[in-house]
């Protein structure tokens, strides 16, 4: 694998992504929502005496859980399939470069533009917090930013895996949105419903939720931003008893797996689709 080639494709991919109207739209929406939330969340700080971002960021989780997977999955899903549909991918692959170099470059470029988008949003929120005097929880805020980046990259990986076998952008977007719905709402509702009907134990409930990267993100955020997981009821207390302080490492490991595992699958699908 030639690093210069990967870098060139990555830079090209970042350029394409940043020029995309979707990028501008997503950046504007994300920045507006998160900055607005920070402003509203801090408005009652003089009364509560806790202006810090730490506790209010819990409310922000909901917003991040909706927005970040949506952006990550849909941008990821357009990465390869777009080039495939307008035939530029055939041209690219006809060059003396390997499929792995193309795939790696595409992923790195898309990841760079996505991280840029998230950082603009969080930067705006940081400015608002500084002006409104909510910087008490600067450390918590940074933790949340890093966790969100991990979640975003995981969703991007899944999105790219989707795009590597799709023939048309519309189909890839459809699959990505279905995944989003599954991760965000349907999965949790299904687990909730079955736990009410079947009376699932706290242990199995926790294990089931750990399969969903969004729940993993939520669990590790609550664990790191709150002092404890007790707020999540019996299952949270079970997690504390069972895993203790290694719980956050376990969750971070799971998130990392969601970034890493879709990539070889995507690469395999990519090769299968374009090299027959």
């Amino acid at each position: 694998m030639d690093r210069a080639v990967v870098a060139a494709i990555a830079v090209k991919e970042t350029r394409t992504a940043v020029r995309h109207r979707w990028f501008v739209l997503y950046t504007l929406i994300f920045t507006a929502l998160i900055t607005g939330f920070a402003a509203v969340a801090l408005s009652a700080s003089d009364l509560t005496g806790q202006a810090g971002f730490g506790r209010t960021s819990a409310g922000l989780l909901n917003l991040l859980l909706l927005m970040v997977p949506l952006i990550g999955l849909t941008t990821g899903a357009q990465v390869i399939v777009g080039d495939r549909q307008d035939r530029s991918l055939d041209y690219l692959l006809a060059q003396p470069i390997t499929a792995l170099e193309v795939f790696a470059g595409k992923f790195l470029g898309a990841a760079a533009s996505f991280i840029l988008l998230l950082l603009v949003g969080f930067g705006g929120a940081g400015v608002v917090m500084a002006i409104r005097g909510g910087a008490g929880g600067a450390g918590d805020f940074l933790v949340l930013v890093l966790l969100t980046l991990l979640l975003g990259l995981a969703m991007l990986s899944v999105g790219i895996a989707i795009s590597s076998f799709s023939r048309q952008t519309a189909a890839a977007l459809g699959i990505a949105l279905t995944c989003w719905l599954l991760f965000v709402i349907v999965g949790d509702l299904g687990i909730m419903g079955s736990s009410i009907v079947l009376g699932v134990s706290s242990e199995s409930l926790l294990t089931l939720t750990m399969l969903n990267p969004l729940d993993v993100f939520k669990l590790v955020s609550v664990d790191l931003l709150h002092t404890s997981l007790d707020v999540l009821g019996p299952a949270g207390i079970y997690a504390v008893d069972r895993f203790g302080s290694s719980f956050s490492y376990l969750m971070l490991g799971l998130l990392a797996l969601w970034i890493i595992v879709p990539l070889p699958i995507g690469y395999w699908l990519f090769k299968r689709t374009d090299f027959q």
């Binding site: 210069a4 005496g49 506790r55 530029s88 060059q95 002006i131 909730m192 707020v231 299952a235």
Partner: protein, 488 residues
């Protein structure tokens, strides 16, 4: 409101003047010229000085370290100056007070024994009207223990507990069968509990009881006034049981966590007034359990702030006759939780057209009188599901839980029973003058994060603008092809 303010002011004057009388007594050297103890003096032992002293003598201990195991059996004033230390070397109780009207002031007391059976303490008081003031207690099992000491004063002491497992620690301040005591301005943190049992009419003001198991535990103690204390980061900030006429005002009860942790607990408490306290970021802000227990009695929660708690107020279904007015409920995961199945009955949520502030109130105030025109009702489907199936709390903070609440809004047939209704919700949170002061955050932090954020945004915008320009020349020979092929 004005009347209540006047009353608090009056009470403050009474408390302050009584404290002044106490300090006047302390500083009065009496007719006796005083006995001096120091390492080069005629008398070099405190025990010897106590034997030589008469009733009412003042003994000044100037500098030096002295052994523990002291018994003060006369009404003396024992005052430490120049950093006088009483060190028990890890043996027994340091100072036992067995005669009334003793004052112990200005010492550093360290190194008690570690027997829970013998209740090894720094200061053990078995007599009335003792004054324990301005002492520093280090490496002690129990700190100040009033065992039967009516009318005693414990003021401005600092207790630093022995850093062992919480179950092996002793209580920083322990008050047992001692009526009319004043506990003011003390710090007793990182210990086990602050205990006040079987002791009526206690005044507990301006203390810091942080990072303990129970910040403060009251039991069978009527008529207590608990004001201006900091009860933070404990398992439970303040728990009151089987007591009457308790006034809890202007305290900070924040960051108290643990599976059953919380800011305040009331169990079998009659005639309680909880006013102007701040409950922030607790597992549960306040728990109410069979309080009031007697008929014809009402408990009051007035002008408190409940913010960012997992549960603001947790109420047992059997609880009746509580009044909540002027409280601010801000961004609690659940403002009011009913612990178990049942209904909230005979709870008053508004008095004279003044209810509480609810941060999720979605009504309006057309006549601009500061009170919402629609009642605040709590009927969140997810909350009611969690009440029935506690393990579903795992899904709090998730879009799925929002979706459940939204479906109940959209389809009334899913809507759960109304948990309670505040007929006159306030549009703005009321800021009670009783609320404890808020610590200022460091300014440097603020500037740093502001700059970092601004630089980040600018860099990102500049970077995107740069990337959005067309590439003018290829980066490497191999990539020239890529660029010409990929421009869209």
């Amino acid at each position: 409101m004005a009347l209540r303010f006047a009353f608090s002011a009056l009470l403050l004057v009474v408390v302050l003047s009584s404290l002044q009388t106490v300090s006047a007594q302390v500083s009065d050297p009496g007719s006796d010229a005083g006995i001096l103890v120091c390492e080069t003096c005629e008398i070099t032992s405190i025990a010897e000085a106590v034997t030589a002293a008469e009733e009412g003598s003042v003994i000044e201990v100037r500098g030096g370290t002295y052994p523990g195991g002291l018994v003060l059996d006369k009404a003396v004033v024992l005052r430490g100056t120049d950093g006088a230390v009483i060190d028990g070397q890890g043996e027994g109780t340091l100072v036992a007070i067995t005669a009334p009207d003793v004052t112990l002031d200005g010492f550093t007391l360290r190194g008690t024994g570690s027997s829970h059976d013998k209740e090894d303490s720094a200061v053990l008081v078995d007599a009335e009207r003792a004054t324990i003031s301005n002492n520093i207690l280090e490496d002690v099992l129990f700190g100040i223990y009033l065992r039967e000491a009516n009318g005693s004063v414990v003021q401005n002491n600092v207790v630093v507990a022995r850093p062992v497992d919480v179950a092996l620690r002793g209580d920083g301040i322990r008050i047992w069968y001692s009526n009319d005591v004043v506990v003011d301005g003390n710090q007793a943190s990182d210990g086990r509990d602050m205990i006040l049992w079987y002791s009526n009419n206690a005044v507990v003001t301006n203390n810091e009881f942080n990072r303990n198991r129970y910040g403060m535990h009251l039991m069978f103690s009527d008529g207590a006034l608990i004001e201006g204390n900091s009860l933070n980061e404990n398992t439970i900030g303040l728990y009151v049981m089987y007591s009457r006429d308790v006034t809890i005002r202007g305290n900070s009860m924040s960051n108290n966590a643990g599976a059953t942790g919380g800011g305040l607990g009331l169990k079998d408490v009659d005639n309680a007034v909880v006013e102007g306290n701040r409950f922030v970021n607790n597992q549960t802000g306040a728990q109410v359990d069979t309080s009031p227990r007697e008929p014809g009695i009402e408990n009051y929660f007035i002008d408190n702030v409940f913010a960012f708690n997992d549960v603001g107020i947790a109420i047992q279904p059997a609880v009746r006759h509580n009044t909540f007015t002027g409280n601010a409920f801000i961004d609690n995961n659940e403002h009011v939780s009913l612990m178990g199945r049942g209904e909230l009955k005979e709870i008053t949520w508004a008095v004279d057209g003044r209810g509480n502030y609810w941060s999720d109130y979605a009504g309006y105030d057309a006549d601009r009188d500061g009170v919402g025109d629609l009642p605040y009702t709590s009927q969140q489907l997810f909350e009611s599901l969690v009440g029935d199936y506690p393990e579903l709390r795992l899904f709090s903070y998730s879009p799925a839980s929002m979706a459940i609440d939204f479906s109940a809004e959209a389809f009334p047939s899913f809507r759960p029973q109304v948990k309670f209704e505040d007929p006159s919700p306030l549009m703005k949170p009321a800021a009670s003058p009783l609320l404890p002061a808020v610590a200022e955050e460091p300014q440097t932090n603020r500037v740093a994060i502001g700059l970092a954020g601004a630089v980040g945004v600018l860099a990102a915008i500049a970077g995107s603008a740069h990337l959005r320009r067309r590439a003018r020349f290829p980066i490497a020979p191999a990539t020239a092809v890529v660029h010409s092929g990929g421009v869209s």
